[in-house]
């Protein structure tokens, strides 16, 4: 590895917290991690190393953070309180900021209808079960407009506004 090709300040851009520097590679974050059994495996310890060492190119192309199940067992068990789950999300955020193809399509769904699922579409079944009409965003146009206007003011959505226009 050529350390002249690395960015020693990369960690500040990705996960600007001293917590990270306490990682001593013990692998507690890997044992018990469901996604460590994925192909390719999510190895949080290696992710921490890449961030600390500033291996920008490797991190940019690393798909494994997206395999995390968000169970947060690593966060609970890490003996040095590195906050590995937060680190995993931070790497995803850094990738999304720097590569628009990383931005999950689900945020467009949420922007348009409030949810990832078509909540409120199964009205017949809900009626059969005697359930009330759902208090969802699609039935509250004023609130939906406020929600979209709020999101459009946030950084990443504002920068990628073209993704969110209604067809």
């Amino acid at each position: 590895m050529d350390m002249n090709q690395t960015d020693p300040d990369l960690w500040k851009e990705i996960f600007n917290t001293d917590d990270l520097m306490y990682c001593y590679n013990c692998s507690t974050c890997i044992s018990g991690c469901p996604a460590s059994q994925a192909d390719p495996p999510l190895l949080i310890r290696n992710l921490a190393r890449k961030v600390i060492l500033g291996l920008e190119d490797e991190l940019f192309d690393d798909d494994t953070p997206w395999t995390c199940v968000s169970c947060s067992l690593c966060e609970e068990m890490c003996p040095m309180d590195v906050k590995p789950f937060e680190l995993c999300l931070a790497v995803r955020k850094w990738q999304s900021r720097n590569d628009e193809t990383r931005i999950p399509p689900s945020i467009v769904d949420i922007y348009r209808r409030g949810y990832t699922q078509a909540v409120g579409a199964n009205t017949e079944l809900r009626e059969q079960l005697g359930l009330p009409e759902l208090p969802v965003l699609s039935k509250l146009p004023e609130k939906r407009k406020q929600f979209q206007e709020m999101l459009m003011k946030t950084e990443l959505i504002n920068e990628n506004a073209y993704m969110f226009s209604e067809e």
């Binding site: 968000s70 609970e76 955020k93 990832t116 079960l129 005697g130 359930l131 709020m150």
Partner: protein
């Protein structure tokens, strides 16, 4: 006690019988549920929490501020929603700058977020507010003679500092004691505290390995226990454990995996005498062997 019922997306959209079970049981136990009009996605960890802090905390603040306006705590069943809302609240309470930013973004709604509304999981409220003694009193049809195993939703356990409500996060007892209060025996197994693996990118990005992961858990349940059914308290665990058994049977070429799966609130509703056709009518694995008792 009045609580804002945060429905999430999977429960009202795909398993509304579970929503019915919660709406039918909680008021009888002294917890009145009010709707959170205009609530949005929790936000799911794979959405805004994977793109930037600004939209992530704006969406958290949007939901939390609805409960704050109504002056209620939030009741959640879905593990991911519970964890996302709890972590969002935690970040907003820890970081004044981010909280000010979200309150600026919320200004046009007339709502604010201060952190005064807590986020509570349904199993926490049932165990720590209602209590097993009260639950025993409302049980009309106990689950006597049946064996259960419990799938603890990981999002209700970790990180315990933020989401925890157990005395010892690494030795959770709430759900199994709740199941015992319904009259069933709870068996233990070697993978009892292992995540179901159903949330997030594991099942999408690595489906064969994700199926193998949960197969080990189901094998442990079959080989090590007398389980008549699995109990959980999370829509992701419920749907994953139920649906994956069909896929695994197709893989192994026989009906090895046929364990009925219930959310705790569904069993509670059945034991309280609610209509099985309303509170437990949607499943992939047949649940007739249990349902015919009611």
């Amino acid at each position: 006690m009045e609580m804002g019922f945060f429905l999430g997306c999977n429960m009202p959209a795909i398993r509304p019988d579970l929503e019915k079970a919660i709406r039918e049981t909680m008021p009888d136990l002294g917890v009145d549920l009010i709707d959170m009009e205009g609530y949005v996605c929790c936000p799911a960890f794979g959405s805004f929490p994977s793109t930037d802090d600004d939209s992530h905390l704006a969406a958290s603040g949007w939901n939390l501020s609805i409960a704050e306006e109504k002056e209620v705590d939030i009741l959640v069943e879905c593990g991911s929603c519970y964890s996302s809302l709890s972590m969002g609240r935690h970040h907003l309470m820890q970081n004044d700058k981010q909280r000010d930013r979200v309150n600026t973004l919320l200004e046009p709604t007339g709502r604010t977020v201060t952190g005064k509304s807590k986020v509570r999981h349904v199993s926490d409220v049932l165990y720590n507010e209602v209590g097993t003694e009260k639950i025993k009193q409302v049980v009309k049809h106990p689950l006597e003679g049946l064996h259960a195993v419990v799938q603890y939703p990981c999002h209700t356990l970790y990180p315990s500092e933020i989401v925890g409500f157990e005395k010892e996060a690494r030795k959770p007892v709430a759900l199994e004691n709740l199941v015992r209060a319904l009259g069933a025996e709870v068996d233990h197994f070697s993978r009892e505290y292992t995540c179901c693996g159903g949330a997030g990118g594991f099942t999408n990005n690595s489906p064969a390995e994700a199926n193998g992961f949960i197969q080990e858990t189901l094998d442990a349940i079959i080989d090590e226990t007398k389980a008549d059914f699995i109990v959980t308290s999370c829509i992701t665990c419920l749907m994953h454990l139920d649906n994956v058994q069909k896929t695994l049977n197709q893989q192994v070429g026989e009906d090895r995996y046929t364990i009925p799966v219930f959310d705790y609130s569904q069993l509670l509703a059945l034991c309280m005498g609610k209509d099985p056709n309303q509170v437990a009518c949607i499943s992939t694995m047949p649940r007739d062997a249990i349902l015919e008792r009611f």
